[in-house]
């Protein structure tokens, strides 16, 4: 294989795929990217961790000898990063090495044969639909913070996507770590009818979100089966992300969304966020609870720490129900409030031991449920 490519193109492409590659690998070839130069003058770059693979096409300045080879992802990325802007990079693989040349720099890197490079077998992906990249990005932003990192309940380590028929056909995304839940709802796109319930793993979500950032104006083609999902993004050459799905059953989360919470609190999410953040200054890892005292049109936030003393702040709010004291993890509260993009947030409360529903208003696509802390 021999090809020449612009440094900027190479760098952009490698920056997309290299984060898929795990830093430590017991299987050496998983540290590598596959580079495949076609006669047509396009260069395909591919990275995988066996659960997730990203393939990107870029146009080469020239392809002298078509062919494919694998080389260390992080080395090539670091080299591309350090090469001077505007340089032309030549990649030449022969005899188990790849020579990378640009200007006066010359690197000779060990390679592994392309035939050993594992590919995810996609199989048939019968469900096909399209979403605006912006919508998909919002779906991820509104839900991903609630994804569990606890490996015991592996089926919570991703975003759950499923279709549902209520007053109109919907596509719903949900994530929970057992303490809080985030749900995002959108009108069901054409082609998503009959889609199997799937759980998209956290790493795939993170990689996809990064890729979306660069093509927010376009559309994303989504193809899936019960075990695999593929996202195809437009842009120059295009990027294809294929991931295995989490093989598990997401809990029936609808039963934890409260419907009869009769105490309604309305306030400005930004000042609420800032006040929580201020009083939480003295909270420690052990006492991260912030207590909320609700009185007529007033919220009193307070934190008591055995080591750091106490903090309190009063906030104006709209509240007319019975007085209530309830505690929440300050960080969980902040995570949710930072997703509310409005001058108004609604908290629907029942009591100090029951789930609280949080949303912008009853028309919002996003809905959050937060479980209190004992204080």
């Amino acid at each position: 294989m021999k090809a020449t490519i612009e440094r900027a193109t190479l760098l952009r492409c490698l920056s997309h795929v290299q984060s898929v590659v795990e830093r430590r690998n017991t299987i050496p070839i998983l540290s590598n990217v596959l580079i495949d130069a076609a006669e047509t003058g396009s260069l395909k770059v591919m990275a995988t961790d066996l659960d997730l693979q990203v393939v990107e096409n870029m146009s080469a300045a020239s392809v002298d000898t078509p062919g494919a080879i694998t080389v260390s992802a992080h080395l090539l990325f670091d080299i591309a990063r350090k090469l001077p802007d505007g340089s032309q990079v030549s990649l030449d693989a022969a005899d188990g090495r790849m020579t990378v040349k640009a200007g006066r720099s010359r690197f000779s890197l060990p390679t592994l044969p392309r035939d050993d490079f594992p590919m995810i077998v996609e199989g048939d992906l019968p469900t096909k639909f399209e979403l605006p990249a912006k919508t998909l990005a919002e779906l991820i932003d509104r839900t991903r913070f609630a994804i569990s990192t606890e490996e015991t309940r592996y089926y919570l380590n991703g975003i759950f996507l499923h279709v549902s028929d209520e007053d109109r056909p919907l596509l719903k995304a949900a994530a929970t770590d057992g303490h809080r839940l985030a749900r995002f709802t959108l009108d069901r796109p054409d082609g998503a009818d009959g889609m199997p319930d799937v759980i998209v793993p956290r790493k795939a979500v993170a990689e996809l979100r990064k890729l979306l950032e660069e093509s927010l104006d376009g559309h994303v083609q989504i193809d899936l089966s019960a075990s695999k999902i593929r996202f195809t993004l437009g842009g120059e050459g295009g990027v294809v992300l294929t991931s295995k799905l989490i093989d598990g059953t997401f809990p029936d989360y609808s039963r934890v969304i409260p419907t009869g919470n009769d105490k309604l609190l309305r306030l400005d999410p930004r000042s609420f966020y800032e006040a929580v953040d201020r009083v939480a200054t003295i909270a420690t890892e052990k006492t991260r609870a912030v207590k909320m005292g609700l009185d007529k049109d007033k919220v009193t936030l307070s934190v008591t720490s055995p080591d750091n003393g106490t903090a309190a702040e009063e906030l104006a709010a709209e509240y007319g129900a019975d007085n209530l004291e309830i505690g929440f993890n300050a960080n969980y509260l902040k995570d949710i409030l930072s997703q509310i993009d409005s001058d108004n947030v609604e908290l629907h409360l029942a009591d100090a031991g029951a789930p609280t529903l949080i949303r912008k208003d009853d028309k919002a696509s996003a809905l959050y449920v937060l479980m209190p802390m004992r204080v």
């Binding site: 050496p28 998983l30 929970t176 031991g353």
Partner: protein, 386 residues
């Protein structure tokens, strides 16, 4: 059987510390011991989490030149693939073998789940590794009725919580319980009842005895010992003359006797880790970089164990397999990762220049002080949604 045990305990005068602290004062009758062993644990976890691997020969471990098989699925074992076998050999025996990188975080989580199952039944749990443990269920905390029933309940609970199978051996001592769990693997149960121990052991090839490896087996074969029965026929003097300190264990084992109690309070003495390289290393910069990588791995373990220790040991294995280690002990515990790294680098400097390239490097933190127990979560003020 109980006569034999009492007899053994009475004339036992050897200074084995295992025997010293188990006078059995609180267990006048026979104990009820269960040995639980997960089936092809690491490989089964991989097959559970990745449906593509089910029904296929799977090995967990590195597939490269110096990788070894950490665990093999039953499909792989049919080809003769075994744990601790070099991956190259395994691949030759079974060309379709699928290698998975090990995911110890997941194995540890599952291990925690099965230990929770064990602790539901008894506090007398002695873990031997992530996937096996001895349990003393003499007390029958939940009134399940018999040790055999408890073993079945445990196997069912493990299957329900982890979707994995375990085999269990039930008997009146650890030695027999462990032999029994191995008897009907996978997903099996075997019970050796009081009175059956001696005859069970008599029929066993001596290789199945815990502690008898290939070398001891060879020696025994030379001495005409092939089975438990052959071993019973030898008197203690003969065994002592030929096997030294191993003799007393063999004497008792051959009679199905094992007086060691289930020890639930294993205390960790050190936390460490090591890595074997693809290619031997000799250059200084590369050695230092490698040390940083090892610090990353080991410090994470230290943090997870919440261990505080005063001695840092750096170990290397040269390309001729000779091992060398340097250690430094501080007057107070190692405070943080930076200090741990600095001490490691200092120890490395002491070893330079290396006489030969090295193939392995490892670091250990020892002289641990008051390793705290894992925090109990039951008083978590955060309420749960699911």
């Amino acid at each position: 059987m109980s006569y034999l045990i009492a007899g053994m305990a009475a004339h036992d005068d050897e200074p084995d510390c295992d025997l010293q602290d188990e006078t059995g004062e609180d267990t006048p009758g026979l104990r009820k011991i269960i040995h639980v062993d997960m089936d092809a644990f690491f490989a089964s976890v991989e097959q559970r989490d990745n449906p593509d691997l089910r029904g296929r020969p799977v090995a967990v471990g590195g597939s490269s030149g110096r990788g070894v098989v950490a665990a093999a699925s039953y499909e792989a074992r049919e080809f003769g693939v075994k744990s601790a076998m070099p991956s190259v050999t395994a691949k030759r025996l079974c060309p379709d073998l699928v290698f998975c990188k090990s995911r110890f975080d997941v194995y540890r989580e599952v291990s925690g789940q099965i230990r929770d199952v064990f602790r539901y039944h008894t506090d007398l749990v002695e873990p031997l590794s992530l996937d096996e443990a001895f349990l003393d269920v003499t007390e029958d905390r939940h009134g399940i009725g018999s040790a055999t029933n408890i073993a079945q309940v445990i196997r069912r609970q493990i299957r329900e919580t982890t979707q994995l199978t375990a085999s269990a051996g039930v008997s009146y001592n650890k030695f027999l319980a462990k032999l029994a769990s191995d008897q009907n693997k996978p997903d099996g149960l075997c019970v050796i009842r009081p009175g059956e121990g001696a005859s069970f052991v008599a029929g066993l090839p001596i290789r199945r005895f815990h502690g008898v490896g290939p070398r001891a087996e060879e020696k025994m074969n030379r001495l005409g010992i092939a089975t438990g029965a052959d071993l019973v026929a030898k008197d203690i003097a003969f065994l002592r003359a030929n096997f030294g300190s191993f003799a007393d264990y063999l004497y008792r084992a051959a009679r199905g006797i094992d007086l060691r109690p289930v020890r639930s309070n294993r205390i960790r003495k050190s936390v460490g880790g090591e890595r074997t390289f693809h290619d031997d290393i000799s250059s200084g910069p590369l050695l230092r970089e490698t040390l940083h990588n090892i610090v990353d791995i080991v410090w994470e373990r230290i943090e997870r164990a919440e261990a505080k220790g005063r001695t840092v040991t750096l170990k290397v294995k040269y390309n001729d397999f000779q091992i060398s280690s340097h250690a430094r002990t501080l007057s107070s515990v190692v405070a943080d990762k930076a200090q741990f790294t600095a001490i490691g680098l200092g120890l490395l400097e002491e070893m330079l220049p290396l006489p030969r390239p090295i193939r392995l490097m490892g670091m250990t933190l020892s002289k641990l002080e008051g390793v705290p127990k894992k925090k109990v979560r039951h008083d978590d003020p955060q309420l749960s949604l699911l």
